[in-house]
């Protein structure tokens, strides 16, 4: 029983990280109907920036904040400089750009920082503060994830800019007709997605260690999470993230063993696509004509 509880809590902690990254995927997907395959590498690259800042002697939380800001600007710039020129290109061309971005970020990071594993500090104390089932870092990661989710929710729900971003994602033409600069909304979306990814990267790095390939598996889990929840539903992505995290940990520990953990994500992806392509919470579109 203790072991199961421990696995569930650990699953919730990594699940929160998958949820954040899945949410980043969903944000871009809602606006462009494309999955940004480079989302994970963007998170990885920004986590290295955080590592550099911390190693240069900056206090953790200052580095954390600066990295989030950097990631935001980085995301906006990527959209403006790399994605914008292929805006009207065929889908496959854009996918190729995403994959190129993934490879470039991966190799550039490897080139700058080498491929050896680096340890990344956790801002939370070593000692468990809350029982023996969950480490402080896991608890802290869950907390940070929830704060990020709440902030995002409040931003999209209650601010005019958030409303405009939602409008631009679902109806660009009408958005222009009320004076929204749709191109910039897209760039902002990329910035936000990159910032959320950076938080996910910094939370997962103390668990998996820092290396240029750290996000490969995590992106796959995030992808599974987004699909399970319904790729066009932010709440679904969050739910899917936690679900995938817990499933992965429980199955890995008690059923299939750690070596086959990643196949859980793949089986989920294939299963969802076969049985229920819109996911658990995929929107039923209501329109009247």
């Amino acid at each position: 029983m203790e072991a199961i509880l421990h696995q569930i809590f650990a699953g919730l902690a990594t699940g929160g990280i998958y949820a954040s990254l899945a949410l980043a995927l969903v944000m871009i997907y809602q606006a462009t109907h494309l999955v940004n395959f480079a989302q994970g590498e963007m998170a990885m690259f920004t986590t290295y920036i955080a590592w550099s800042l911390i190693n240069a002697g900056m206090p953790y939380w200052a580095a954390f904040l600066l990295t989030v800001v950097f990631a935001f600007v980085f995301g906006v710039l990527l959209e403006r400089l790399v994605i914008r020129p292929v805006e009207n290109a065929p889908v496959l061309a854009v996918v190729v750009v995403f994959i190129a971005l993934l490879l470039i970020l991966n190799s550039v990071t490897g080139w700058i920082y080498t491929y050896t594993l680096k340890s990344f500090p956790s801002p939370f104390p070593q000692q468990p503060v809350f029982g023996k089932y969950i480490s402080s870092h896991e608890l802290g990661a869950i907390g940070i994830t929830l704060v990020v989710l709440l902030l995002l929710y409040a931003f999209f729900r209650f601010t005019p800019l958030g409303l405009a971003m939602r409008a631009a994602a679902q109806n660009p033409e009408s958005s222009r007709l009320v004076g929204i600069r749709v191109g910039w909304m897209l760039a902002l979306g990329w910035g936000l997605a990159a910032a959320v990814g950076a938080v996910a990267g910094m939370m997962v790095a103390p668990i998996v260690y820092l290396d240029p390939n750290m996000m490969g598996g995590i992106l796959l889990y995030a992808f599974a999470a987004a699909l399970v929840g319904g790729i066009d539903n932010p709440w679904g992505a969050v739910f899917g993230g936690f679900l995938v995290g817990v499933l992965e940990n429980l199955l890995g520990a008690f059923v299939i063993g750690n070596e086959l953990k990643l196949s859980v994500a793949l089986v989920l992806i294939i299963g969802v696509l076969l049985v229920r392509p819109s996911g658990f919470f995929g929107k039923v579109h209501v329109t009247r004509v």
Partner: protein
């Protein structure tokens, strides 16, 4: 507007339109399907490629981005209404005022719209896509008004509405025009209703102006009467 031409890809739809709108008045654009009415509206707010000159309040606006033209005070009620189907009625209305910064005035306008269209107030929290056709049309008109525009482009506001609702909507449009001095350019299939509301009108045929004049003149014109008014 002078020598306005517009093309969709290879197809030229407008062949050099010349017309002028008087400030504070309602002008109707009449014509059969395919005459270029909708394209004219889309050309004014930069949604199609154009040649020629479009001036608004003394400024050239042709070739500018749609969102910049909107920010000058040109509100467009597109055909198909352009509803943000997954947002609530009230969110749709607030988006209409997206470019305005004076919060209290926006709140007051919101209440004013609910005054014009009480049905919208009842449905303020409802997903706009689930509103009836008539309600969505009211929403489209109020969303455009929320911009606090100087010029309103209305594309077939009567489309798909019950006759009683059309009368009600046109009454409200006239009241708004009189009270707020908003100029309107109205595209309509329903020529009789349009000529009643408008001060003047232009008749389009295959992308050209074939007749222009005051509404009363057009109403009396035999050709117009036979072809568009049906008596």
């Amino acid at each position: 507007m002078r020598a306005l031409r517009a093309t969709y890809g290879q197809t030229r739809v407008l062949h050099g339109l010349d017309f002028a709108l008087e400030k504070g008045s309602i002008t109707a654009l009449l014509g059969a399907n395919g005459a270029g009415k909708t394209t004219t509206l889309r050309a004014i707010c930069g949604m199609v490629k154009t040649q020629g000159e479009v001036r608004f309040a003394g400024q050239r606006i042709d070739g500018r981005a749609t969102e910049d033209i909107v920010r000058l005070g040109v509100a467009h009620v597109p055909d198909g209404r352009g509803t943000f189907a997954h947002l609530s009625t009230e969110e749709n209305l607030r988006l209409g005022a997206y470019t305005r910064k004076e919060r209290p005035a926006v709140e007051a306008d919101l209440e004013r719209m609910y005054g014009y269209f009480p049905r919208l107030k009842e449905r303020r929290r409802q997903q706009a896509g689930t509103l009836s056709g008539g309600e969505q049309q009211m929403l489209a008109v109020s969303r455009a008004l929320m911009l606090s525009p100087k010029l309103m482009l209305l594309d077939e506001p009567s489309f798909g509405l019950a006759p009683l609702l059309v009368t009600e909507l046109f009454d409200i449009l006239r009241r708004i025009n009189v009270r707020e001095q908003i100029s309107m350019l109205l595209v309509e299939q329903n020529a009789a209703m349009a000529l009643q509301l408008a001060n003047s009108a232009y008749l389009l045929e295959t992308g050209r102006v074939v007749l222009a004049g005051s509404s009363d003149d057009l109403k009396r014109d035999d050709a117009v009467r036979r072809a568009y008014l049906g008596y």
